[in-house]
Symmetry: C2
Amino acid sequence: MQLFYQPHLPEIQHLDLDESKHCIKVLRMKSGDEINLIDGKGTFYKAKITNENHKQCEFEIISTEKEADFNFHRHIAIAPTKNIDRIEWLVEKATEFGIDEISFFQSFHSERKVIKIDRLEKKVISAMKQSIKAKKPIINEIDSLQNIISNAKEANKFIAYVDFQNTTYLKNELKNNRDSIILIGPEGDFTEEEVELSEKKGFKKVSLGKSRLRTETAALAAVHLMNLIAE
Amino acid sequence: MQLFYQPHLPEIQHLDLDESKHCIKVLRMKSGDEINLIDGKGTFYKAKITNENHKQCEFEIISTEKEADFNFHRHIAIAPTKNIDRIEWLVEKATEFGIDEISFFQSFHSERKVIKIDRLEKKVISAMKQSIKAKKPIINEIDSLQNIISNAKEANKFIAYVDFQNTTYLKNELKNNRDSIILIGPEGDFTEEEVELSEKKGFKKVSLGKSRLRTETAALAAVHLMNLIAE
């Protein structure tokens, strides 16, 4: 199913420049044709094209449908990788599985201190359309690990730490209906001080399993687990 | 930890051309230095360089260590995607999580009929080194779906099929210590005839969850689940 994105629905009832071009020039849709839209806030819209303008395609809403709410708020916070492709990939896959909020932080072993949110937003919107989701995950600007830890409001807080002796597995700690945040460290992992700081603020040290995972793979494992818990 | 790959260990005690160059020219290792190797068959080797030749670096084995066996054989069979990057990505991530065998098949809605195994083998070897694994997953040449179905020897056989009414979730069907194969269809999914054929051969229709996943994401979810079951 082809979905169009208009974040200002229902107030604005036309597509933006790129979406208008795609709809009218590429897909050759005409006035009177039906289209499906998402607002990024959790609602699907069915609409009819009223003006096949390839710069500003106008439509009128026929019907709406709310996406079912997820059982809890799913939040991951990651130290971004040096190679930004790996983060873009993660953002796409996390959106497919289902995620509510993605944060980035700088920590002692961080390899990257800058993130271009615009590019990630595009990946997210494309993944939402692909996987037929109406609610756009929140993508936060990069912040210090300390701020992320101090500001976390979730009921269940976890820090994934590579320690093959630790048998406290995230899969056994996540609870349905409990808002959760999971911190995923950089390739050099968290320092002991960072782990201690997070523990003081109520984070629990968890293992993602017996394999040594790259940052983005660990983050995806965490996202997959949060989704499994609620099904 | 830097790992070198020599599939003919312990018989051959030198690195191949690429690995020799990397070891001697890039890492500037010398005779007498210790290196770590894997044979792709499940054994780690510690060795000492005896001849720092950058075309054929020779070494002698000091000690060996067997990698712990996984509880069961983990096999996924996938309809390869049009964009081969997505399959390369999957092969890398599946190796990180842990997988024993990856097969590819042609089915009615397949978008790609050819797979270059050589490139995938390189991805797998690189991922093994990265995630410190000694056993190389088997990567099979592409085959017909019919042959894959008929030849499957695993005790537990699953076909992942997009059907949001189906509440038979893979996560509840996998059993520890039971060799498993999971079929993952192309973007257009399996046809009803293909599902029926697989069911006749003992495959069980399962759901991976409530999200609409791309082929490679579905495959990775299945791989992650197989690993979770045993932990």
